[in-house]
Amino acid sequence: MELHELEAIAEREQSQRARLRILCCAAAGCQASGSLEIKRRLETVLTAAGKLAEVDIMPVGCMGLCGHGPLVRIEPSGELFERVTPADAEELVAALEGGPCNVPRCDRNHPFFTRQLPIVLRHCGQINPERIEDYIAVGGYRTLYHVIHEMTPAEVINAITRSGLRGRGGAGYPTGLKWATVAKSPGERKFVVCNADEGDPGAFMDRSVLESDPHLVLEGMAIAAYAVGAEQGFIYVRGEYPLAIERLQKAIVQARRLGLLGAQIFESGFNFRIDIRVGAGAFVCGEETALIASIEGRRGQPRPRPPYPAESGLWGMPTLINNVETFANVTAIIENGPEWYASIGTAKSKGTKVFALTGKIRNTGLIEVPMGISLREIVEEIGGGTPDGIPVKAVQTGGPSGGCIPASLFDTPVDYESLAAVGSIMGSGGMVVMDEHTNMVDVARFYIEFCKDESCGKCIPCRVGTVQLFNLLTRLRNGQGSGNDLIEIEALCELMRETSLCGLGQSAPNPVMSTLHYFRHEYERLIGAEVEHGS
């Protein structure tokens, strides 16, 4: 494959594109709501009308507003229809050429669309994720060519460093620094691993990216591999995501066939092969060292760091581990330059962040916003508040490792440091909205139960601490708690945070500590009279 061949594919794609197009969301959420049946119905209607040749019906990735799915967009008008049913097919076809159509339309001027800044999600809902040609037509794999032929590995790392990109998996470690460590660590072989073990309950960002734009991630990984000197990559993806796995498999085969992965990529000396490893249901495998154990075919138990995987990872070799969203940012940074990327966001948190906005919120879905946006803008403007007008009480970010931020702090800007300062974390991007009817002790107990079930059992504070914490919260909720219990709960939280072996155990108390901090009265109410006298 040479550059001109790539461009030829893009041109051919663009010239063959029909003027009239119907784009049906074929991501997991809308598929579950019957979007494939809608697509079939549209084909039937067009066939009957003898118009099948004039209109392209494209299955595309996530269009964002998952809670209102299935979503269908028509081009060139760009109108977006929500809650479409197969019976709407005729009207949608009519709408293509301006005919009458009573299918509910989304307001494209709604803040849900206008406040977003898609970088990672820029192709989502625009291209057919199962066709590499679609990706090439929007400029895909040209950055990889540029990198291989015109940049040295050091220049690539330098660009990523200057962009200010930080790990999107949650902890926010500077990506450039990680790449540089892997690049300079000695090793016979090196590996690049994409962490797609998105395990936070209430998060589906990575799933949507993989289902909607798998090549973007592959290209990002290939660039990383070139930069750090790796020839083998793995994508560790949750077994719960069959559609993402299927699309990744297809994407890898397609890329290999075109010589964009494999040996001598773009006729250069650079080789890079990617294999998929399917997770088997263990949240802890999102932790780097547990993930490595799992790829090596062992129980997914973490080990103490140092050494860090960047120095000694898979089979003891230097290993770069980044998550899906981090890799998905790479091409845009190289393409537009690190300065452009660094101009978005805040002083310490650059670029955008993808969030899965769920819970008691009108506009459930996938959003990408610039860092620094306030929680209020996300919840009230983009999310449109709660569906039934009950006031919002809190928003939970960071999943089981994060915390609950009360509505009174909704002016907090969304960046790594600010979220940490209010007792939560950025996390991988789950954002669950809770209304006034939500019992915060139950929420804390829900997360601790999750961590208890997901604890690997290796270290004592997490293995037994989660169970004792869960028992204490259960006792409290059942009205059998005593004033002493809150002291015990706090002591256990501190123990787990300070002494657990890995991030799972260290952060497991966060939901309890943050709710105890902001909603202590809800705990105290459960203990009964004795405390109420005091308060």
Binding site: R303, C459, I460, P461, R463, G465, V467, Q468, T499
Partner: protein
């Protein structure tokens, strides 16, 4: 290479480069609790009892898996470390049925000793009162899972020294359990060589020689290090 000089609890000590903090602390005559560590076996850093404070490091570090470095300033016995250690031992006692009064290892048990060492005079947590089986299908040894602390010393002794890997851990979290082969009665294991190293390595009365009663199981874990030494030296 020159020896490393570091400060442990206010005392200057020197250590050979590459030494682990745990051995250096012990050589300095300081007692620090451990459970999953056993001389002669690889370390896993799982029990968290040997965590120490190292100045300039945000997180506590397990002494058993931390390499000494020049100028390191280490605290092994601060109030919060003492409080954490006690809590960890409490959690262990609450997890399974550690009833010293009726245990073969009483008087020779590391867990019992740990309770005394960290001053754990009572357990604040609710006892979980589990009902695990006792496997005495093996002709020479038995295992009472109710007394297991999941330190995995048996697993490592079997794998690293005897080389047969009869033992492993099944399940996860609080449901973790050590197993032999396919989670089958130990006596039916096809890989076990009946060498007894697991029994030597066991810190509590979980794995015991058959025929002993309360307080009769001797503690002989230090023999594991001797065996390793013997193998190296080809005695």
């Amino acid at each position: 290479m020159a020896a490393k000089t570091l400060t442990i609890d206010g005392h200057l000590v020197s250590a050979r480069p590459g030494a682990m903090l745990l051995e250096t602390i012990r050589e300095a005559g300081i007692t620090i609790p451990t459970l999953c560590h056993l001389d002669g076996l690889s370390d896993v850093g799982a029990c968290r009892l040997c965590l120490v404070e190292i100045e300039g490091q945000r997180r506590l570090q397990p002494a058993c898996m931390t390499t000494v470095s020049e100028g390191m300033v280490v605290h092994t016995n601060t109030p919060r470390l003492r409080s954490y250690r006690r809590q960890i031992v409490e959690l262990l006692f609450a997890e399974r049925n550690h009833v010293c009064a009726v245990c073969v290892a009483s008087g020779n048990c590391e867990l019992q000793r740990l309770a005394a060492l960290v001053g754990m005079d009572h357990v604040r947590y609710e006892y979980m009162s589990v009902a695990y089986p006792v496997d005495i299908s093996h002709p020479r040894f038995g295992i009472d899972h109710n007394r297991c602390v999941l330190c995995t010393r048996c697993v490592r002794a079997c794998d690293e020294i005897e080389g047969v890997h009869t033992w492993d851990v099944s399940g996860r979290g609080i449901d973790s359990r050590v197993i032999t082969d396919m989670n089958q009665p130990w006596g039916t294991s096809t890989t076990c060589t009946s060498c007894g190293k697991c029994q030597l390595a066991c810190p509590t009365g979980a794995i015991f020689p058959r025929g002993v009663t309360v307080g009769e199981r001797p503690h002989a874990s230090e023999r594991i290090a001797l065996i390793v030494e013997a193998r190296k030296q080809r005695w």
